[in-house]
């Protein structure tokens, strides 16, 4: 079972940027200027009604959106100059997500994975971060997170993909599964077993693997919606230079737990911000279709408050990260609330507007298609990154300190 009790090393994060942008010290000013850009930039309209439908098309489209935002420096705030950022803190990133969403724009999918893996690479492998993360920020490449395996889901420390150190390289064999963006990723941040099979979390190492390495086979996994959002990855004696190790050999668990702090806080914040846009679109459709009876609108209001509650909790954690504090097991509350709110928001569509989702006429084909994709993907919100059951377990163990026998 995943726990957050493993020791986390003291690491500097967001060290004072050498070349900070003019808005690095002022989130409010950053927000104001970003809002103005999003309101006035004519190119952005093509992402407000994006023709991209498949996972692959969406990632390509979002890559172009990132490039445009990067050219104005907007997504560089919140990241240190050491990786091509313009300085500032996690609060800049949070404001970036909120403003995109309020401007009726998608939050680029790549941001979700960068926010998960970026801080760990910065913290444990600064040279790699300087070399590779600028490309991520520009939208040139994106990475997958290779943690789960067929026999190691919630029980992550049971994973078996083998990493054998051989002089200056590591040879990897095994299988990963449920890798988000895995089918189109340039690199994979993999958690592999370098210790004995019985070493559990003590014998794990994190290593960055290029997906074009010989010996890697990636198969997209079609979800029930038909979307190929996830992938399984096979490693057959894949050679990786040791300078791609993130952190220490056998020190992967500490890196994974460090990473988990941002996965809990930032991923959830981006996710709830994105849901606010979906909720706005739903409200507009309900008004247009004259589905605004007391029961439907009250259900909407309740979900809107539920989402705002998850967001408020996430913001508390983000403020702590921005202040250099560490998140502990209490971050499972964030993850649980966020996952439940995600599902509630997409359930609401079917609940109040079945004629545009479950039995859509031809004119609503696109709406119904997108909703179905999102509904199926939202089911994963309480499964991926530590299931809701795991989160409840962590809260019971470490927040409520309930006895086990």
């Amino acid at each position: 079972m995943l726990t957050l009790t493993a020791p986390i090393e003291e690491l500097p994060m967001n060290t004072a940027a050498v070349m900070s942008g003019p808005l690095a010290e002022d989130v409010t000013a950053y927000r104001r200027e970003l809002r103005e850009f999003l309101r006035t930039e004519p190119q952005l309209d093509s992402w407000r009604a994006d023709p991209a439908q498949s996972s692959e098309e969406i990632l390509q489209s979002h890559s172009r959106l990132l490039a445009l935002l990067y050219s104005g420096g907007w997504n560089r705030y919140g990241w240190p100059s050491a990786m091509g950022g313009l300085g500032g803190t996690e609060l800049h990133r949070a404001a970036f997500y909120e403003e995109l969403s309020m401007a009726d724009l998608p939050i680029p999918e790549q941001c979700m994975t960068l926010d998960t893996v970026g801080p760990a690479v910065l913290g444990f492998a600064p040279e790699l971060a300087a070399q590779l993360l600028p490309g991520y920020l520009r939208g040139d490449e994106w990475w997958g997170q290779g943690f789960s395996e067929p026999e190691a889901g919630s029980d992550l420390a049971a994973l078996r993909t083998r990493g054998t150190v051989d002089s200056d390289r590591m040879v990897i064999s095994g299988q990963k599964i449920w890798t988000s963006q895995g089918a189109t990723a340039t690199r994979l941040l993999c958690l592999v077993r370098t210790g004995t099979p019985e070493s559990r979390h003590r014998g794990l190492t994190i290593v960055l693997v290029d997906t074009d390495c010989p010996g890697i086979t990636i198969r997209p996994i079609a979800l029930a919606s038909g979307q190929r959002e996830l992938a399984e990855v096979f490693f057959d004696e894949v050679n990786v230079p040791l300078d791609r190790v993130i952190g220490e050999i056998d020190g992967g668990w500490a890196v994974a737990m460090y990473l988990m702090q941002w996965e809990r806080a930032m991923y959830c914040y981006a996710s709830t911000s994105r849901l606010m846009r979906s909720m706005q679109q739903l409200r507009d459709r309900m008004l247009a279709d004259n589905i605004a009876g007391a029961a439907e609108t009250a259900a909407f209001a309740r979900t809107y408050v539920q989402l705002s509650t998850a967001k408020a909790r996430g913001l508390q954690s983000i403020r702590r990260l921005a202040a250099g504090e560490k998140l502990g097991p209490e971050a499972s509350v964030d993850k649980l609330l966020c996952g439940l709110a995600d599902k509630a928001a997409y359930d609401l569509v079917a609940e109040v507007m079945e004629q545009a989702s479950l039995v859509a006429p031809p004119a609503d084909r696109r709406y119904a298609h997108d909703w179905a994709d999102q509904w199926w993907y939202s089911r994963a919100a309480t499964i991926m990154g530590g299931s809701a059951e795991i989160q409840r377990g962590i809260i019971a163990d470490h927040v409520l300190a309930l006895p086990k026998d």
């Binding site: 809107y304 408020a312 913001l315 019971a396 309930l402």
Partner: protein, 332 residues
């Protein structure tokens, strides 16, 4: 009204202890006037230095001690006074609150109906908000002229009254002051509800940790652990939204925070009443006091259900289409 001064944990604990003792010494089954009590404690200094934390500690300890008092009245009058030519006498004034299920004042002037949280003294002043056309106005009426009859309440330990106050004059325009007062009042009630819900969970954690069945403490059963974890998460989430609402100070976040507190309270009480087993339903167990009080407070200034409908009316205003949903929480 941003206030980022935080109390250090030791000072906070000391203040909590003093306020807790103050309320513990207050006689139960009596409607208290807290102004005198707080004066003896030297509360104004704490409130001035740490306004948000002071309010939170006061409301939390008030709730946990199950005290009934004019704390809500004082909170509302503090804002409503700004609309009145002369401030109502401090500690000797009550507010005619909206009658549930209403979340706003009754029509006036004339005989205005509402709810009093406690019995007025003959020389009290009753602050009467009322709706006149599209306007919210506020007047004062001597308590001696107010008709009041006790209400039957789910929580028998409150002493609420149904009241009618003759507001003879046109009163003073008070739309902005009423909005600010209600926001502060709802934050206060939300703080109380969450303190009560949190305590119900604490009592339940203690119960399931000591009660043994099948040779194990019942806390060892995953279904028990997960119910409590979920309730705790709901409470923590609502507390976060309430903290944002307190920093913001505005009407909409305060309303949302009260909705979230009301919803969290429902989840918490369901877990608590189930997991304490039959003993939790008895007079002997103290659990029912916290459950009943939280349910009772939820209806003051609009229950979760009523406020969700009010919010829905705004989100679905005819001219709302195409505009972003108003953000209740923003990173800053």
């Amino acid at each position: 009204m941003a206030d980022h001064r935080t109390l250090d944990p030791q000072t906070r604990a000391l203040i909590e202890q003093s306020v807790g003792e103050m309320f513990a010494h207050a006689e139960q089954d009596r409607f208290h006037r807290v102004t005198t009590m707080l004066g003896e404690l030297g509360w104004s200094e704490v409130a001035e230095e740490y306004p948000l934390a002071a309010q939170e500690i006061l409301a939390t300890q008030h709730a946990l001690s199950l005290t009934t008092s004019d704390l809500l009245d004082i909170t509302l009058i503090d804002r409503l006074s700004l609309a009145l030519p002369t401030a109502p006498p401090v500690g000797r004034s009550l507010v005619l609150l909206p009658s549930p299920p209403g979340s706003g004042p009754a029509p006036g002037p004339g005989r205005v109906g509402g709810l009093l949280q406690g019995p007025p003294q003959p020389d009290d002043t009753i602050v009467v908000p009322f709706i006149a056309g599209d306007d919210i106005r506020v007047a004062t009426v001597p308590a001696a002229e107010v008709d009041a009859v006790p209400l039957h309440t789910f929580d028998p330990s409150v002493s609420w009254l149904q009241a009618t106050a003759p507001a003879v004059d046109e009163g003073q325009p008070a739309a902005a002051e009423w909005a600010a007062a209600v926001a502060a009042g709802r934050r206060l009630i939300a703080t109380e509800i969450l303190a009560l819900a949190g305590h119900a969970i604490e009592l339940t954690v203690a119960h399931v940790s000591t009660r043994r069945q099948y040779g194990h403490s019942i806390a060892a059963f995953q279904v028990v652990r997960h119910q409590l974890a979920e309730a705790q998460a709901e409470i923590d989430g609502a507390r976060a939204l309430l903290a944002e609402a307190s920093t913001d100070g505005g009407y909409a976040p305060a309303r949302a925070a009260k909705i979230a507190a009301g919803r969290a309270q429902r989840v918490a009480r369901a877990a608590a009443l189930q997991l304490n087993g039959a003993i939790g339903l008895t007079e002997e167990s103290v659990l029912h006091r916290y459950v009943a009080r939280a349910m009772q407070l939820d209806v003051l200034l609009g229950s979760a259900r009523v406020l969700e409908r009010e919010l829905a009316g705004e989100l679905f205003a005819p001219d709302a289409a195409g505009t972003p949903l108003p953000p209740l929480v923003l990173a800053r």
